[in-house]
């Protein structure tokens, strides 16, 4: 990949490398053996294998990393973490990439980010997740009219069994508000 070395570009590159630095630190001693790829149940659907992704991370190839869906396809089964001969926290590194994509609001990862954001909002609002509220808000946010239909039958079954309720939870208690604020403060996001 060709990159011109204009000052603006250089500044962007240095900001990018700072973003990736914590993830790079996690996987610094990767020997590219491919055990992670061989162990990954989702590798069949990935555009880059986990092994290739770690190489891109070490090379600081921000654009390629976040254009790829590989980290979003990690289902946190922890096989790679268990088997990595270097003992690297690979599942956590996948999580760290998800966090960056969410923070930077990367378009490619919008649906996953929206799901997680709505989940966390529900937790912040009520202390516990209200599954029906979560799914309704998620579908509304994704703006994909087909998506709710795919789950309509299941939703009706769950309602018939009294497993999800249509009652909107009350707004009275926000038991986690202080915790959320404190976390934001410590992360410098408040």
């Amino acid at each position: 990949m060709n990159r011109s070395a204009s000052p603006a570009n250089a500044e962007q590159l240095s900001r990018e490398s700072r973003t990736l630095a914590p993830v790079q630190a996690m996987i610094r001693s990767c020997i590219q053996c491919g055990t992670c790829t061989g162990s990954c149940p989702n590798a069949f659907a990935m555009d880059r294998t986990p092994r290739q992704l770690w190489r891109l991370v070490l090379m600081g190839r921000q654009k390629a990393i976040f254009e790829s869906k590989t980290f979003a396809l990690c289902s946190a089964c922890y096989y790679c973490t268990l088997r990595c001969p270097r003992g690297l926290p690979l599942t956590e590194a996948m999580g760290a990439l998800k966090q960056i994509a969410a923070r930077e609001n990367r378009v490619r990862h919008r649906p996953s980010t929206l799901f997680h954001e709505n989940f966390i909002r529900s937790v912040r609002r009520h202390g516990r997740v209200k599954e029906m509220e979560l799914m309704t808000r998620y579908w509304a946010a994704v703006k994909n009219p087909v998506l709710p239909l795919r789950f309509a039958l299941l939703g009706m079954k769950l309602m018939a069994k009294g497993k999800v309720s249509l009652d909107w939870p009350s707004k009275a208690k926000r038991p986690l508000e202080t915790l959320f604020r404190k976390v934001e403060e410590l992360e410098g996001r408040s």
């Binding site: 396809l73 289902s75 998800k98 599954e131 410590l186 992360e187």
Partner: protein, 289 residues
């Protein structure tokens, strides 16, 4: 042994039968067992996808609550995702006093503190090691001798922390299933991934993983699970997947405490058997035989 019970959000909603059957079984086995007051969400997989610190602070609050309400009690968790989130904080804060101090800085506003002594236990761990097959065997009223059961462990009760089972070749359910007289369905899918939340955000990929598990379970009378997400993925999409690959993949899927409870003669209503999404007519017939 005393336990502080952390049901988690799913057990109040889509996994109500896991909650009912866990309570019923622990009661029948004589476990001293109290729910943590005012517990809150562990962050599931969503917190880790948004903020690392939040993903540790949410479970930490519950560990601190449990310690405040029942010092020295083990924390009993039936949901594998909740279990791993809570366990992660237990493991990390034990090794990293700086992290513990940081989390305590967050918790102090609610008059809560982590002392680093919490011990988080999965329901399967408690059933396999504290209760054990020997405690269950004499309580069996309805032997499952004519049943073949496929034990499905999923991921997060096994990995990354190898606490009570072999994370590559799990077996902890087998003595319990044999104790009620059932056979173990021979398969190698027990510790494979069901796709977890992929069903919501990456549906096609999740379907592939579930298909392989359902195909592997063919020939068994039921799959037993120990996680609400595994349970939902395995029970809710059988028709759609069967249509797609033109195969009959219908199979009963039960939570482990439901199966053990049935064998011990606990009433089906107490075990929430009507709440499951996949109990086949064949299974019901065999059960009432």
């Amino acid at each position: 042994m005393r336990y502080r019970y952390y049901p988690g959000c799913s057990l109040e909603g889509t996994a109500r039968e896991y909650n009912l059957s866990t309570r019923a079984l622990m009661g029948a086995l004589g476990g001293d067992f109290r729910e943590i007051d005012d517990w809150t969400c562990c962050g599931a997989s969503a917190a880790d996808a948004t903020s690392h610190l939040l993903s540790l602070a949410l479970p930490a609050r519950n560990l601190a609550l449990a310690a405040k309400q029942g010092e020295g009690d083990d924390i009993l968790v039936p949901c594998s995702a909740c279990y791993l989130n809570l366990k992660k904080v237990e493991e990390k804060t034990r090794r990293d006093p700086e992290l513990r101090a940081q989390l305590n800085e967050i918790l102090i506003a609610d008059q809560l503190q982590l002392d680093g002594r919490a011990r988080v236990r999965h329901l399967l761990d408690v059933l396999a090691r504290d209760m054990g097959a020997d405690r269950i065997r004499p309580l069996v009223r309805r032997p499952f001798t004519d049943f073949s059961i496929a034990p499905y462990y999923g991921c997060q009760c096994l990995r990354p922390y190898a606490v009570f089972d072999d994370p590559e070749a799990p077996q902890s359910m087998e003595p319990l299933i044999k104790a009620i007289g059932a056979r173990i369905h021979p398969w190698c899918m027990g510790g494979q991934c069901c796709g977890a939340a992929h069903m919501q955000t990456q549906t096609e990929v999740g379907m592939e993983l579930v298909t392989a598990i359902l195909q592997g379970a063919k020939g068994a009378d039921a799959i037993v699970t120990v996680c609400p997400m595994c349970q939902m993925n395995l029970e809710a999409y059988q028709h759609r997947i069967g249509r797609k690959c033109a195969e009959d993949l219908r199979i009963s899927v039960l939570y482990l405490p439901q199966l053990l409870g049935l064998a011990m003669g606990l009433p089906q209503a107490e075990l929430g058997l009507d709440l499951n999404l996949a109990i086949t007519p064949e299974f019901r017939k065999k059960l009432s035989a």
